[in-house]
């Protein structure tokens, strides 16, 4: 899984299977996509309300909860006023029917 190797020590955004978004620095990973993130925050979007951000610190995300993880342009990221951004709640990945 060399794809994640190139993300080590970088800040990444992670989307989880329950539709949450996390931002943190990738310290480690393994073949099951388990992730270790430091300085983690969770960002919660809403269509009407202001964006909420929660500080979490050191986080381990279990691999089977990971949808995707990406490195991003920190300049663009820092220039955005996240409280003003609105978005829909992401769906989960379970399709029961």
């Amino acid at each position: 899984m060399s794809a994640l190797g190139t993300f080590i020590e970088k800040k990444i955004k992670v989307i989880t299977t329950d539709g949450r978004l996390f931002v943190g620095k990738l310290e480690g990973y393994d073949n099951n996509t388990n992730l270790i993130l430091t300085s983690t925050i969770e960002r919660i979007f809403d269509l009407e309300e202001e964006t909420e951000q929660i500080d979490l610190g050191l986080y381990i995300i279990r691999g089977d909860s990971v949808v995707c993880a990406g490195i991003f342009d920190e300049e663009i990221e820092n220039s955005i006023q996240w409280t003003k951004v609105h978005g829909v709640q992401l769906k989960d990945t379970k399709n029961p029917f």
Partner: protein
């Protein structure tokens, strides 16, 4: 191993991935592994951009294979006959492993 080899031939091509949470992402395939995890560069979301700010500013995206529903491909990149033959050979190889159980 069949589709792992198949997707290796598509590295550097543009593909569109539809995930199980209904997000659709277009990008250039840069890497694939045996779990069919993908890494895409040059990402853009196909759905309404204003609804999905989650992926703003992302340069390179790792997608866990298990969360993929579909991958849309350019038909010119797919050799139908090659794929069909490979499926037959793969099926034969798999049945060979079961004889004598």
């Amino acid at each position: 191993m069949l589709f792992f080899s198949f997707f290796k031939t598509l590295v550097d091509q543009e593909i569109r991935v539809e995930l199980k949470n209904d997000i659709e992402i277009k990008g250039t395939l840069k890497s694939i592994d045996q779990f069919l995890n993908l890494k895409l560069d040059n990402i853009s979301t196909v759905n309404d951009e204003t609804k999905y700010p989650h992926l703003i500013a992302i340069k390179s995206l790792f997608i866990r294979g298990s969360t993929i529903r579909y991958i849309h491909l350019n038909p010119m990149l797919v050799d139908a006959n090659l794929l069909q033959d490979a499926s037959r050979r793969e099926a034969l190889a798999n049945s060979g492993n079961r004889i004598g159980r």
